[in-house]
């Protein structure tokens, strides 16, 4: 008797998923544009070296300046010459360090880069938080009550196109030099787009959702809480994104003009006096990294847990998956 023809192997849908293979090329793909830019930078620096010297520093000098800005006080405290190279200093820190662990931390925490970054790092999110609370509240009031809509829309429409930096000199005169001025200007700059976006979100919510809730006899407050708020979340979040971007820009400008000592961009403008291009590049890089992380830490988790999960927004880069 002939054997029955072998069918396909038994189907097991519960088997663990295969992780798709990602080639090394795919993994480093996001890095290569940076490598290319650095390469071009190096060549340019090499050509300009005779002409400009450290005003157009080599990439290595920028890296070393970054290192110096972090470990400078520590290296000095150890009695090592600050002009020695990176490897000498690293070697000294690891193997020839006369200081105890606590002292090391103390000197590391004196690093100027850390202080610049920390100053920017609390001022900015703090101003942004104020702007978000006020912006969302005002936006909702505009969306819900015709009176406030009539009041705020003309005002905000005129204020929105004014770059926040233009306000900074006035703010300095009124509120003096210092954190308060930076915070006010930053918060004001990011409040405007947030309020506008929330207002749009509340106004353009899908009316059939409201009707559905009405048909189940939800009262106005319940509809607002359970339908309008979650339904306008995509617009609220995108408004906050724009708000954050504007806060970032305004904050950087205001820091420079408000006569404060610590802050990444305050540092950049200071460094201009000393022609310390390398410092400026380091600070700019930290600004970039910080802004990127803020976006990653603040928005992505919220979006993944809400509007992406609900299918109200495509994941960033989600267009790869379609076709």
């Amino acid at each position: 008797m002939a054997e029955a023809q072998a069918g396909p192997p038994p189907l097991n849908l519960d088997a663990p998923h295969k992780t798709p293979y990602v080639s090394i090329w795919m993994r480093i793909r996001p890095v290569y544009p940076f490598l290319l830019v650095i390469f071009i930078w190096q060549i340019t620096a090499w050509f300009l070296h005779d002409l400009m010297g450290d005003l157009f520093p080599y990439f290595g000098s920028i890296l070393f300046r970054g290192w110096e800005l972090i470990t400078g006080p520590l290296v000095k405290a150890m009695g090592v010459d600050v002009d020695t190279g990176f490897l000498t200093q690293l070697y000294a820190i690891i193997f020839k360090n006369p200081l105890g662990f606590i002292d090391q931390l103390k000197y590391l925490s004196d690093s100027p880069l850390l202080w610049h970054t920390l100053s920017t790092a609390w001022r900015l999110p703090f101003s942004f938080m104020i702007a978000s609370v006020i912006g969302v509240t005002v936006g909702i009031m505009m969306g819900r009550f015709a009176f406030w809509e009539g009041f705020f829309v003309p005002l905000l429409s005129v204020l929105l196109p004014i770059p926040a930096l233009a306000w900074t000199p006035i703010a300095v005169i009124w509120f003096g030099n210092g954190d308060q001025t930076v915070i006010l200007v930053t918060a004001f700059a990011s409040f405007l787009p947030i309020a506008m976006a929330v207002w749009t979100g509340v106004k353009t919510i899908n009316p059939v959702w409201i009707r559905a809730a009405q048909s189940m006899n939800a009262d106005k407050m319940t509809i607002f809480r359970t339908v309008v708020l979650p339904g306008s979340l995509p617009m609220i979040l995108s408004g906050m994104r724009i708000g954050l971007a504007r806060a970032w820009r305004a904050g950087v400008g205001a820091e420079a003009f408000a006569g404060i000592r610590w802050g990444l961009s305050a540092g950049i403008f200071d460094a201009q006096e000393y022609l310390d291009t390398a410092f400026m590049m380091v600070a700019i890089a930290v600004l970039g990294i910080f802004g990127y992380l803020l976006e990653k830490v603040l928005f992505q988790p919220i979006e993944t847990r809400t509007i992406i999960k609900w299918g109200m927004m495509e994941e960033m880069g989600g267009q790869d998956k379609k076709v």
């Binding site: 959702w209 009707r211 559905a212 009405q214 048909s215 189940m216 979650p230 609900w310 299918g311 109200m312």
Partner: protein
């Protein structure tokens, strides 16, 4: 059978700044308790307006609507299924079904149990915890039907609920609708422009004609269920309704 809804001398005029639209004129229907009634007609004939009046979305210009002998109030219990996907995307299927009960302060355990019961009724209990965007169009409308029924409304209002679905899914959902209706014994008012659907589903079919929207005729459909959509008398009825809709002066 007692009369559930009584519509008397109903008139609706939409008064917009540009012009007045005479949407309904002299509409009279008595809807029995537990009846499945279909409203058909060309677009602009006022069938959706009538449904929106019953749903409380639109105010009456003139005339009366009685529910169990009393004038209807805005907040009587009605379940509405919309043509568009009206599920809340931020709630899972079962949370959507629970929504109406939540508003009526049904305790959480109870409301979860009832919601699952209605999801079973529309054969979706396995999909209870999925968000609407991962359900197909047909499945979404089934959840919408479950949501509209779960808080035990007095009437179920359906506005071309399956109009956006493909033909096979629509047929499947028509069968399901009849099944749900027979099990729950609700009064259903169903707006459609699909005549086969109306004859398949309804105990009675109300034929509307436009300008102004008014009732041309009310036909009683007494074919036994389950109905055969290809039977000669079924097609004959469909043809008759088609003539009523189109040939009027």
């Amino acid at each position: 059978m007692p009369t559930k809804i009584q519509i008397q001398n109903l008139r609706k005029v939409y008064d917009t700044p540009e012009r007045k639209v005479h949407a309904l004129e002299n509409v009279n229907i008595d809807i029995q308790d537990g009846e499945f009634i279909c409203l058909v007609g060309l677009s602009g004939c006022g069938k959706t307006t009538l449904l929106n009046i019953l749903a409380g979305f639109v105010e009456i210009t003139h005339g009366d609507v009685y529910m169990d002998g009393k004038p209807i109030t805005e907040d009587y219990d009605k379940g509405v299924v919309f043509q568009e996907y009206a599920l809340f995307p931020w709630l899972t299927a079962v949370q959507n079904v629970e929504y109406g009960m939540k508003i009526r302060n049904v305790p959480p355990d109870e409301r979860k149990r009832i919601a699952m019961e209605f999801l079973r009724l529309v054969r979706l209990e396995e999909f209870a915890d999925l968000f609407p965007h991962s359900l197909s169009g047909g499945m979404r409308q089934r959840v919408a039907v479950a949501r509209a029924l779960a808080f035990d409304p007095q009437v179920l209002l359906m506005d071309e609920p399956f109009g956006a679905l493909d033909a096979q899914t629509r047929e499947e959902l028509q069968d399901l609708t009849v099944d749900v209706w027979q099990k729950t014994k609700k009064t259903v008012i169903y707006v459609t422009h699909n005549l086969a659907e109306a004859v398949f589903l309804g105990n009675r079919v109300v034929v509307f004609i436009p300008n102004p929207g008014r009732i041309r005729e009310i036909l009683t459909i007494d074919f036994p269920r389950p109905r055969d959509a290809l039977a000669p008398e079924f097609i004959k009825t469909q043809r008759r309704i088609n003539e009523l809709i189109r040939d009027w002066k």
